[in-house]
Each structure stands twice: as structure tokens, then as C-alpha cells.
């Protein structure tokens, strides 16, 4: 008994030290990713942010520490640039909506497939869409949608059209390209959430007098809000920052912000102004995401 009390009196200090040791041991797990992120993301992003305030000199990449707001004033005074910002948001928003509309039924179908073998097969099918490099897939789309492509060829052969339909090198083409690229991200975000909705919730709604359609809109859809939110935000972020798709599918006619950034930096050598556009792009998309999230959270009944 005496021994036990002596030990008990001793105990409180020991676990504290151990706990701190154990905690710091856990931090080591984060360290490699943290260092990588710091070197290859935070530092370049911060320097980009800094040079966006620098005096614009063609060909100069270094930080000159000569800060001014001139680049920003120029951006917001030229319709060429701020219209690109609006176009970027519009494109990303439309792609998010279209991807959700196409992706939700697909994700629902896969999630409701209880047969384990078939389920794995569908998952592989969804993932296989992500296996080819984006540029290669876009060339495939060009073969399909070009003026002399498969679709226009067939329509011309059956006499439905005389002039080719403008399927690409325009806004429509960019949307199709981005939807094709982002659809798997949307579907994967949704499958897990839809699957986690217990079937008895839908059955309870049915037994209380709701038909399939009402049950979907009152139960299934609101309960998949976290997945819808994650999926649309992911698709929005990918779309608003995409350079390759608008460049190839839009044929430099759909001028979104990433194209301006590329042009300023790669073609004109104006790193400072390119950086300004990048910062505006980043801030705009953060604001758009914030507004959207507030709105969506309200419709989800405070659950998302």
C-alpha cells in the first residue's frame, strides 16, 4: 500500500514529459512535407507576391525592392485584364455546374452499386479517365470536335449541316475540355459521401410518404452537400487556374487570366505584371470560394 502511494505521488510528472516527447515525435512526421512545401511552394509564391508590387522592368526576375502599386492600377484600368478575371470566374463557375450535373448521377450510380466486384470495376473505370496526360486527351478531343473532326464530318455526310459547327476554339470548347478533365475529381469527391448516407434514411422518407423524387431532393441531395462542396471547389480551383485547356481548346480566343500570365512572363518578359495578374487571380478565386462556401453551408442546414 505504501509503495503504491509513493508511486502515485511520483506519477504525475512522468506522463507529462512522456506526452510532450510523444507529441513532438508526431511533429517529425509532418516535417518532410513541411520543408518541401516551404521551399517549393511558400517561397516562390511569396516572391511572386513581392515582385507583383515591384516596378515593371522587362527581363528582370529578381526582386528590386522598388515597391509601387502601378501594376495593380494598370490591371484594373484596362478592360482587357479585368474582363479576363470575370471570364475566368465565369468559365470556372460554368464548368463546376456542368461537372456537378454530369458527375452527380454517375457518382450516385456507382455509390449505390452494392455488388463489390462491379463496384471496383466502376471505380477503375472512373480512375482510368485520369490515367492519360491532359494534353494527349485534349488532342483526342480536337480530333473529335475540330472543323474537320469526327462530329462535323458525320453531320456533313448525313447532310445535316453545310458549314462546320464551331465546336472548339471558343468558349464551348474550353468548357468541354475542362469538364472532361475535372469530371473524375467531381465523381470521386461525391462517391464516398453518397455511399455514407445510410439507406434507411431514404427508406424512412419513403415510408413517410415521399416519392423517389422528393426523397432525393429532401434527403439524399442535402446530405451529399459536403461532397458537392468539396467536388465543386476542387473543380473550380482546377478550372480557374487552368492554362493548357483554354489555350488548346479555346484556341487563344478565350482569354482567361492564366493566358495573360503566360503571355506577360513567357512572351513579354514582364515578370512583375505577370505576378500581379497571378495575385489577382489567387485573391479573386479565394473570394469566390469564400462566398460560395457561405452560401452552400446555409443550404446544407449548417451541416457542411
Amino acid at each position: 500500500m505504501a509503495l503504491a502511494t509513493a508511486q502515485a505521488g511520483h506519477m504525475p510528472q512522468l506522463p507529462d514529459v512522456r506526452r510532450i516527447l510523444a507529441d513532438s515525435r508526431l511533429y517529425w512526421l509532418v516535417l518532410p512535407a513541411f520543408v518541401f512545401f516551404l521551399i517549393f511552394f511558400v517561397i516562390p509564391t511569396v516572391s511572386l507576391f513581392l515582385i507583383s508590387f515591384d516596378k515593371s522592368v522587362a527581363g528582370v526576375v529578381d526582386i528590386q525592392w522598388d515597391f509601387t502599386l502601378k501594376n495593380y492600377i494598370r490591371f484594373f484600368n484596362r478592360s482587357l485584364y479585368y474582363e479576363a478575371a470575370i471570364r475566368s470566374i465565369g468559365l470556372a463557375a460554368i464548368v463546376s455546374v456542368v461537372t456537378l450535373a454530369l458527375g452527380y448521377p454517375l457518382a450516385y450510380f456507382v455509390a449505390k452499386t452494392r455488388h463489390p466486384g462491379r463496384n471496383t470495376f466502376y471505380m477503375i473505370l472512373v480512375l482510368s479517365a485520369m490515367q492519360l496526360d491532359m494534353v494527349i486527351r485534349l488532342f483526342g478531343l480536337m480530333v473529335l470536335m475540330g472543323d474537320n473532326g469526327v462530329i462535323n464530318g458525320i453531320l456533313r455526310d448525313i447532310g445535316a449541316i453545310r458549314e462546320p459547327l464551331p465546336l472548339m476554339y471558343n468558349f464551348f470548347g474550353a468548357v468541354v475540355g475542362l469538364v472532361q478533365f475535372t469530371l473524375p475529381f467531381m465523381v470521386l469527391s461525391l462517391i464516398g459521401i453518397i455511399r455514407s448516407i445510410h439507406p434507411s434514411l431514404e427508406e424512412a422518407a419513403r415510408s413517410l410518404g415521399a416519392n423517389r423524387w422528393t426523397t432525393f431532393w429532401r434527403i439524399t441531395f442535402p446530405l451529399s452537400m459536403p461532397g458537392i462542396l468539396a467536388g465543386t471547389l476542387l473543380v473550380f480551383a482546377i478550372s480557374i487556374s487552368s492554362y493548357v485547356v483554354p489555350a488548346l481548346m479555346g484556341g487563344w480566343k478565350v482569354i482567361v487570366m492564366p493566358l495573360h500570365i503566360y503571355q506577360q512572363i513567357a512572351e513579354m518578359g514582364k515578370w512583375q505584371f505577370g505576378a500581379t495578374i497571378a495575385v489577382v487571380l489567387f485573391v479573386t478565386s479565394m473570394i469566390a470560394v469564400y462566398i460560395y462556401q457561405r452560401f452552400a453551408a446555409r443550404t446544407a442546414g449548417g451541416r457542411a
Binding site: S200, L201, A204, R206, L208, A210
Partner: protein, 356 residues
């Protein structure tokens, strides 16, 4: 309120037969249980009544109307699930109001009726809570209120107590039965717990391997089980291997090892036939109690004694077979040590023959 009739209901899932030719009738206002081990087809049967599963063969009638092909929302049923299925994105109020909204009941009327329903299940003041703020017992009562407010023709309960802890389960058992009794609502109750089924039901259908094995009142099922499965599944039982020694008129005697005694006769047996003899442990009397009754008296040896508080349980040897006796822990009962010899006995009516 209505009765339920199932006629030759059969359901196959791929190769496996989940429900095989089940026919039964639940009377108006009756508390009817489907009792059986997991995988016996009781839940599938309930889900066919609800309309979530479409039978391969047979029909479902509710209130005399053929409901076999109707979707769940057109059957006028209410169902409470094992996990209660409270909509997590809605408040308690919206959960309970859901059925009324679907029926396009005016808003003002909904408010009043939801309030009354919450009172009925002792949850007034819970309107604005969410599912995550409710205990298991509260969730169950919300689930019941949500169903009862729609005044369903029949109430279906799918193992509603199995997720609760023991004490609450006991409490809810009587509470649900009381509620059902006062509403006189036709109820089909699915459970694997024989205690629940015996306490709550007016009648029980025992199911095994996709078929209904026996239908009857709790005392009939308990005291006159139809076969070895029911005997084994409902309560604890002694099944002794025996042989018919003599049959004639209203008398029947069987032999267990070297002893012979009388049992209640039953049809279709003949002398020399191998049978099972059933007697419940609480019907096996020991010592003076066994001497006092008019019936069978035998000598057995105690293998071991286990103290269980309110009762004392003896595992005994009788003619080379094992027999269990449970006697009340009372001063008028003998206290036997391991290895002791004792007189045991039971009334003739306490025994039951099993013919395989």
C-alpha cells in the same frame, strides 16, 4: 388501422432463398412478432410488407387491399429502423413534421400536431435539437413520434431496441408495448431476442431458414414448441433422448435410460419410436418440492451448482444424460453441493414430446 395478410411470400436473392413460402395473418390491433436468428428472413419479410423489397412470389395485403406492387409511400405504413434513421440535417421538429408535409397538411395544423406528438413521447421542448444532440433512447422516441403522427395503418418495428443498453431496453420494452396497447395499432415487430418477443407480443411467428416454423401466443410457443429448433431457440431447455415405452388411450409413457415415466400424449407416435423429451429448467423441482407434487419423480446427481443471485442453477446427471434445474434462491429450497444425489421431479404436463 388494418390487418396484414401475407400469402405464400417468397424472396430469392440470387441463389439464396431469403423467404420461403411465408403465409400468415396479423389481426387488427395485434402486436405480432417475427422472431428468429439472424439470416432467418424476418427482416426481409418486414421489408416486403413495407415495400422496400419486392417478392418473387406471393402477395401482401394490408386492410384487405393487395399492396404487393405498390411503392412504400402508398402503403400507409410507418416503420422504425434499428438505427432510427433520424434525418441528421433536420431538427426534431422537421423530422416529425416530414410525414405531414408530404401529405400537404397546412402549416398551422402541423405545428399543433408536432407539439402533441412530442408530448406523447415525453420530448416536449426538443423541437430545435438535431440528431447528434439526442441519446439513443431519445432518437428512438423521435422516430416513433415521426411515424405515429402520420397515423399509419400498420406500424413496423425493425429491431428497435437492439441498439440500446440493457437497462433502457427493458424500460422501452414496456413503454412501447403500453403505447401500442393504448393506440391499438396493428404492429409487426422484428426481433432476434426471445425475451422481447415473449414480453411484448400477442402472437409470435418463429422463423428459421427462410420459413415460418411456428405461429402462436407467447405461452404456446414457450410451453409447446413445435420442434427442436423452437425449443432450443426460445428460452433454455432440457432435451432428453427417449423412447416411447407404451402408448394407449390418453396415456403415454417413455423410457429415458433405465427409467420410465408418463408424458402428455401426442398424435402420430408408436411404441419403440425414438423421441425427444423436453422439460424447462424452471419446471424441474428438487427435494421436498419434487416430493410434494403429483407427477414424475427421479433421482439425479449434481454435476455442478452455479449461484446466479435470484436463482440457483444445477447441472445434473440423469440416466447418463444431462439435465438442468433452476430453483429459486429461497430458504425452503435445498442447497446441494457438487456430487450430491437428489430427488428431482416435474408434473406430467410440464413435459413435452418432440418427434423429428
Amino acid at each position: 388501422m388494418s390487418d396484414v395478410e401475407l400469402s405464400s411470400l417468397t424472396k430469392r436473392f440470387g441463389e439464396t432463398l431469403a423467404v420461403d413460402d411465408v403465409s400468415l395473418r396479423v389481426e387488427e390491433g395485434e402486436f405480432f412478432s417475427l422472431l428468429g436468428p439472424s439470416g432467418c428472413g424476418k427482416t426481409t419479410t418486414l421489408r416486403m410488407i413495407a415495400g422496400f423489397v419486392r417478392p418473387n412470389e406471393g402477395q401482401v395485403f394490408i386492410g384487405g387491399e393487395d399492396m404487393t406492387l405498390l411503392p412504400p409511400e402508398k402503403r400507409g405504413i410507418g416503420i422504425v429502423f434499428q438505427n432510427y434513421a433520424i434525418f441528421p440535417h433536420m431538427t426534431v421538429f422537421d423530422n416529425i413534421a416530414f410525414g405531414l408535409k408530404m401529405r400537404k397538411v397546412p402549416k398551422r395544423e402541423i405545428r399543433g400536431r408536432v407539439g402533441k406528438a412530442l408530448e406523447q413521447v415525453n420530448l416536449d421542448g426538443y423541437e430545435r435539437r438535431y440528431q447528434r444532440e439526442l441519446s439513443g433512447g431519445e432518437q428512438q422516441r423521435v422516430a416513433l413520434a415521426r411515424v405515429l403522427i402520420t397515423e399509419p395503418k400498420i406500424l413496423l418495428l425493425d429491431e428497435p431496441l437492439s441498439a440500446l443498453d440493457k437497462k433502457l431496453r427493458e424500460e422501452m420494452k414496456y413503454w412501447i408495448k403500453g403505447l401500442q396497447h393504448s393506440l391499438r395499432i396493428t404492429t409487426v415487430y422484428v426481433t432476434h431476442d426471445q425475451g422481447e418477443a415473449l414480453t411484448m407480443s400477442d402472437r409470435i411467428a418463429v422463423m428459421n431458414q427462410a420459413r415460418v416454423v411456428q405461429i402462436g401466443a407467447p405461452d404456446t410457443i414457450y410451453e409447446h414448441p413445435a420442434d427442436r429448433f423452437v425449443t432450443d431457440f426460445i428460452g433454455e431447455s432440457n432435451i432428453l433422448e427417449a423412447r416411447i415405452a407404451a402408448v394407449g388411450g390418453n396415456e403415454c409413457r417413455i423410457a429415458v435410460g433405465g427409467v420410465e415415466f408418463a408424458v402428455p400424449p401426442r398424435d402420430g407416435i408408436e411404441a419403440g419410436q425414438a423421441v425427444g423429451f423436453v422439460v424447462r429448467p424452471e419446471r424441474v423441482l428438487i427435494g421436498p418440492a419434487a416430493q410434494a407434487i403429483d407427477g414424475t419423480r427421479l433421482t439425479a446427481t449434481v454435476i455442478d451448482r452455479s449461484y446466479q443471485g435470484a436463482i440457483i442453477r444445477y447441472r445434473m446427471q440423469l440416466e447418463g444424460q444431462e439435465i438442468v434445474a433452476e430453483v429459486p434462491n429461497r430458504p425452503d429450497q435445498p442447497d446441494l453441493a457438487d456430487g450430491a444425489e437428489a430427488t428431482i421431479g416435474w408434473t406430467v404436463a410440464s413435459g413435452e414430446l418432440l418427434v423429428d
